[in-house]
């Protein structure tokens, strides 16, 4: 038993090295996309976001939204679901626990 533990402990640096080698290129691709797609909005973009909301409201009032194709509607629904999930991720961070409140 002790010998097996020793052999495992001796292998840990190789395992760590292999894990780093595996994850480096994947981390690089992640950063490549995240640096453009996942960044928070700059202060200059916030008025554009507000005008986007106003566009949505006007489209709803004029009935233009009724003309969206099912495909576009599904796509927008997926985007809206993703935005909703960010709320739950924020809640996880705020309650400092993955599942349930640790009271």
């Amino acid at each position: 038993m002790a010998q097996a533990v020793q052999k495992f402990v001796a292998k840990v640096p190789t395992l760590v090295g292999a894990a780093v080698n595996y994850s480096k290129p994947r981390l690089a691709t992640f950063w490549y996309y995240a640096r453009v797609e996942l960044v928070p909005p700059t202060p200059a973009e916030i008025p554009k976001a507000i005008s986007g909301v106003q566009d949505l409201l006007k489209g709803f009032q004029s009935g233009r939204l009724g003309q969206t194709t099912v495909r576009d509607a599904l796509r927008n629904g997926l985007v809206a679901t993703e935005v909703l999930m960010w709320f739950y991720i924020g809640e996880i961070i705020g309650k400092r626990g993955l599942i349930g409140y640790d009271v």
Binding site: Y32, A49, W86, G90
Partner: protein
Amino acid sequence: MVPPVQVSPLIKTARWSALLIGLIYGKQRYDYLKPIAAEEKRIEEEEKKLREEQERIYKQLSEGL
């Protein structure tokens, strides 16, 4: 590789404000639930003490017989 897509500012603001609101909501709900849970734990402790006291008395009586 596919070039990264330019996300619309509306979606970006919506995402990060959702994150912020979720953070605040989680923190506030945790602060609200914590004293309630502490109170319940305290009450449970007292009732447990009472119950164990009664069990002890019951056992003593039944052994005395």
